[in-house]
């Protein structure tokens, strides 16, 4: 790990920037701030930070446009900040290359977890066997074990679980999952996905109605929670 990872915050609210600076600095990150989209893009280019936190509601540009522009060259994680009740914006941002999102008001602990999760993917290679408490997923042999017992999954169920688990702690949108697992034809059929997730939960969760691993992000998608 680098000594001091750089994080760029693009948000027009000074109080949010101050809060993030204090919290994230305390967690060992080096923080840079921009209050406008223009400054943000300039700083991103000159600093090349390892994570960008981008507010969707910026005064001088649509946050989504900023995201698209950044994604033309910026390959590290971008985490979106947004207000509640704007699932459509969030989904659009996620489908346009954002790695994760948080709605205001958010918990700083949650933000730190998201930053870590977003970084994880870019840091190391995937293991062949993923272990999350009682759940073991053997990616090479297509095997899933709960409490060391083999659980029978259909191939679609396995692909779905593997996709989510490989992206541990990251939110994946409905359309992304559908495209990855079923192909483009199903991209607008979140119903199918929900049925499969429900079925998967029954097989791998201890209490399917209080899932530990497969977390619903209502209106957006699913997140696999490892801990």
């Amino acid at each position: 790990m680098n000594q001091l990872e750089k994080i760029l915050i693009i948000d027009d609210e000074i109080q949010i920037r101050r809060l993030l600076e204090i919290t994230l600095s305390a967690s060992g990150y080096k923080i840079f701030e921009a209050s406008t989209a223009k400054d943000g893009c300039v700083l991103a280019a000159s600093l090349s930070p390892s994570v960008i936190i981008l507010d969707l509601g910026l005064p001088d540009a649509d946050g989504l446009d900023v995201l698209v522009k950044l994604r033309e060259w910026y390959t590290h994680p971008i985490i979106i900040l947004s207000v509640r009740n704007s699932e459509e914006d969030i989904v659009r941002a996620l489908d346009n290359g954002a790695n994760d999102y948080l709605t205001k008001p958010f918990r700083t602990g949650e933000l730190l977890a998201r930053i870590r999760a977003a970084n994880r993917k870019t840091e190391g290679e995937q293991e062949a066997i993923l272990v999350f408490g009682n759940l073991k997923i053997d990616l090479a042999r297509h095997l899933v074990l709960v409490k060391d017992e083999i659980v029978k999954l259909t191939s679609t169920e396995f692909s779905l679980l593997a996709l989510l688990a490989k992206n541990e702690d990251r939110v994946l949108t409905h359309s992304f999952i559908l495209k990855e697992v079923w192909g483009h034809h199903y991209a607008d059929q979140p119903q199918y996905l929900r049925v499969f997730v429900a079925q998967l939960r029954r097989k791998i969760e201890e209490n399917p109605s209080k899932p530990k691993y497969l977390i619903t992000e209502s209106g957006i998608g699913y997140r696999f929670r490892g801990e």
Binding site: P190, Q191, K210
Partner: protein, 501 residues
């Protein structure tokens, strides 16, 4: 009685022609019958004419036929001279009888037509009153009035209500392209002056249309524009005024109604905002005071870690409360705005309950929560956000009234295509006087903990009703309160994985 002589010129021509033709016929039969008989024939013709034509033509016909009879048939022929005293008497009498006959008949006819017209007008006014009362849609009313004026006055017309005039004055209305702008300006001016104007009036007399203000007993309600070619006779004017006053009265009532309604709505929302402001400002102050106080203390002196932690916990609670408050305010304004649109999609109800109980983890930690949802509950189509908020508010409400270390049961069932959700607690239940008000805005039960605006349950009701469902509250026969929700839902057919994989 001007009307008696107002027969058109062609009627005079026709009676002259008829008299001439009758004379010719008489001339041919004059050899067969005596000339005195011919006088009866001519009298007969005049009498017939009196039934058809006005007084003027009949007078002409009787004079003409008297002269013709004298000139052609009374000997000596082809002179106006009458030698025989008897014939002279006959001629004078013929003349008088023809005149009387013609005048009297046409007068009788005229009276009859006046009576008939009056009857028609009474009928027209009656019809108008009746249909004005029956029709409630303003646009339909306008159409009806235009067609009524066409029927009874044979005139094309346009009806402009106050709002139309305002729209026209602001040049916002595109539907008036058929009336030239100068006419519109004149109409607006007449409306402002509350005077009739346009053609046949001193005001704007060179314009093509006439404008009549609709004036009720309290207010002006609009204008009627008439496109008439002839000036109204006194008679017609009277009828028109009666007609107009009926219409004005009707629109006035309509306007007074809508004003009263608006006043009521304003009054209601005024009340709402006053209550909202009073209760909200109070509600905001408490957590803000907590945060300010706690942060002041934290900044001013060194305290033990334990006290610091306690103060931070207080700040945390206050912030959550503030957030809750904002959420409720946003929701109530969504409901109050009147155009809450559902964004429905397919959801698993397990997810919803899971999410709600997760968000309320802290509040629920001292209760024994029992969730009872059938495993095979199919996907249902709902607005996740709204139902989530409704369930959230209900559960939060329960934690405010119900003592800790008791059971809270969430029971979800689907029967046919109605989703039934029951929340049962083991608290004190509702008191008889508040059970009817639990869903009222700003109503707060007497045993409520401090905090809360009394908006939570009214939001529940609003969101459930937005789903065409209903929510009721009652006391459990043994102990505690029950909230029961029923929402008609669409059920997904895609529920069996086997078919898909």
């Amino acid at each position: 009685m001007k009307r008696q002589f107002s027969s058109p010129w062609y009627e005079y021509l026709i009676v002259v022609l008829i008299v001439v033709v009758s004379t010719m016929i008489c001339y041919f039969i004059s050899d067969l019958v005596g000339y005195r008989v011919l006088s009866f024939v001519l009298l007969f013709v005049v009498s017939i004419l009196a039934f058809i034509y006005g007084t003027g033509p009949v007078l002409l016909a009787s004079s003409l036929s008297a002269l013709i009879w004298n000139f052609f048939f009374i000997p000596p022929h082809y002179t106006l001279h009458i030698s025989n005293t008897e014939d002279l008497l006959m001629f004078v009498m013929f003349f008088i009888v023809a005149l009387l006959n013609g005048v009297l008949t046409s007068q009788v006819r005229h009276r009859e037509s006046i009576i008939k017209q009056r009857e028609e007008r009474t009928q027209a006014l009656y019809q108008l009153t009746k249909s004005l009362l029956e029709e409630s849609d303003v646009d339909e009313l306008k159409k009806m009035i235009v067609s009524g004026i066409r029927k009874y006055f044979h005139i094309d017309s346009f009806v402009f209500l106050l709002e139309d005039i305002n729209a026209v004055a602001l040049k916002k209305d595109d539907n008036i392209a058929f009336i030239p702008p100068n006419e519109i300006d004149a109409m607006i001016d007449c409306f402002n002056k509350s005077e009739s104007g346009g053609r046949f009036f001193s005001l704007y007399k060179n314009n093509r249309y006439s404008y009549y203000p609709m004036t009720g007993s309290h207010m002006k309600t609009g204008m009627i524009v008439l496109q008439h070619q002839n000036k109204f006779t006194d008679d017609e004017m009277q009828f028109w005024e009666a007609y107009l006053s009926q219409i004005s009265g009707r629109f006035e009532r309509e306007m007074l109604n809508s004003i009263a309604q608006k006043a009521f709505i304003l009054d209601e929302s005024d009340k709402l905002y006053k209550t909202l402001f009073n209760s909200i400002s109070h509600e905001f102050r408490i957590p803000v005071t907590t945060i300010l106080g706690a942060t002041d203390t934290l900044m001013s002196e060194e305290y033990s870690v334990e006290i610091q932690q306690q103060l931070l916990a207080e700040i945390n609670i206050a912030s959550i409360r503030l957030n809750q408050l904002i959420e409720n305010l946003l929701n109530i304004s969504r409901l109050e705005s009147g155009h809450l649109t559902l964004r429905t999609n397919w959801y698993d109800f397990h997810d919803l309950i899971d999410k709600v109980t997760n968000t309320l983890k802290q509040e629920l930690q001292h209760y024994n929560l029992i969730v009872n949802i059938p495993d095979d509950l199919p996907m249902i189509k709902i607005d996740f956000g709204l139902i989530e908020q409704a369930m959230h508010n209900l559960l939060l409400n329960i934690t405010q009234y119900v003592p800790q270390n008791t059971d809270i049961l969430i029971d979800v069932q689907l029967s046919e295509d109605v989703l039934k959700i029951k929340l049962i607690d083991q608290g004190p239940g509702f008191s008889p006087d508040n059970i009817a008000h639990v869903f009222d805005k700003f109503y707060r039960g007497k045993s409520a903990k401090t905090g809360g605006t009394g908006l939570g349950l009214s939001i529940v009701k609003g969101f459930i009703e937005a789903h065409k469902g209903q929510v009721i509250a009652y006391n459990h026969p043994s102990r505690g309160a029950v909230f029961e929700i029923e929402i008609p839902v669409e059920i997904s057919n895609i529920n069996y994985i086997e078919k898909l994989s």
